[in-house]
Amino acid sequence: MSIASAQTVIARGVRVEGDFKSQGNVTIEGELVGSLTCGGHLTIGAEALIEATVHADEATVSGAIQGNVTVKRRLELKATARLKGDIVAETTAIEPGAAMEGLMKIGGGAKGVEKAREVPAAAPKPIPKPGEVVINTPEAEA
């Protein structure tokens, strides 16, 4: 469940585990393991340790993230940022000293950001005619 929040803060010395969601702005200075979804501005502090898939509207990263990061609008990587994973964002600003290891996909509009993360839809299954029996086997699927 997503929660509307003006400002959520996870301070140093605190660990979060699981699927964390917030519709507002989020600041993380502690640790987070799992997944992170932020509907507002996400700020990752210099001492933060994130092992998660990250989705945010906007983000400013100064700490360490291990996981794929998807940002709908602007992603800013500060000099102390350390990213290990793929990045998808509309625009980025990267300070000298920021480190990342992974693929980057930047630009393409909002649709480009969504498309970069799209999972191809399965082919529609035919509707059986009256009296017809459809057997779903791996061979039939292929």
Partner: protein, 256 residues
């Protein structure tokens, strides 16, 4: 007499020192035409009398007394429908300031104006509360919305807030009309420099908004003060009841 107002007096008002304050209040109530039946704790079966007064048409129940006493009535408020609650404080307190209610006779005009704010209530293991639940020192695990858990590495104070007021500044730090509760966890973090010769402990504050949370401590009892009263449990479940309590407020209240 206005049949729509009824008054409940804290037992302390029966003591000699409060007589002048009570007289001022009752004079002002009469002047503004909002008299109603008065029920005194210690002299009446107050809950039974209030139920009867509500059946007979009372729409506004005004509690005259201290904020600690007023908060003890919250579980009763939560069960009522179709009535609004007023609080007429007899001493300055963070709660009376946040509601915009001055002392004594000056508050009667605000009651008569009957400006309402519909507030949220929190519940702790099903028991309603208005302000906050506090554990002074805990290493409890907090689970939110059934999807993520939070734990501090070192013990510290925990507060689950619905309507919280900063005592020193009077600032409302948790708004009672936002449809959610806030968990505030303070964690001491030690900083050192000069090869450990200089040390300083800083308090870091974690703040999370939620609608359902569970507090547990590896099977140990979790002890909390909720609206000033103790609550203990191995697992303590918090929920929010959004927009359930209409309260009469003053124009100088500290929230929207």
């Amino acid at each position: 007499m206005s049949p729509t107002f009824a008054y409940v007096y804290d037992a302390v008002l029966s003591q000699g020192g409060a007589a002048k304050d009570v007289l001022r209040i009752e004079t002002e109530v009469g002047r503004l035409g909002i008299q109603g039946p008065i029920f005194r704790e210690g002299f009446h079966d107050v809950q039974g009398s209030l139920s009867q007064a509500i059946k007979e048409g009372s729409k506004n129940i005004v509690f005259v007394g201290s904020d600690i006493w007023f908060l003890q009535w919250v579980p009763w408020f939560a069960k009522q429908t179709g009535i609004s609650i007023g609080f007429l404080p007899v001493e300055h307190s963070p709660l009376s300031r946040a509601l915009g209610m001055p002392l004594g006779g000056a508050a009667v005009g605000i009651l008569a104006a009957r400006v309402l704010k519909v507030m949220d209530l929190g519940t702790v293991n099903g028991r309603p509360f208005l302000t906050e639940a506090i554990a002074p020192q805990t290493s409890a695990r907090l689970e939110f919305e059934g999807s993520y858990a939070v734990r501090a590495k070192t013990p510290g104070p925990l507060a689950i807030q619905n309507f919280a007021i900063q005592p020193k500044t009077g600032e409302v730090i948790s708004v009672p009309t936002d449809g959610q509760l806030e968990a505030v966890l303070q964690t001491p973090i030690e900083r050192s420099a000069l090869f450990g010769m200089w040390k300083k402990t800083e308090i870091e504050e974690t703040r999370i908004a939620f609608t359902r949370g569970v507090v547990s401590d590896a099977g140990n009892p979790v002890q909390l003060l909720v609206d000033g009263l103790p609550v203990t449990g191995k697992e303590v479940v918090f929920d929010v009841l959004p927009g359930v309590l209409p309260v009469i407020v003053g124009p100088d209240r500290l929230f929207g």
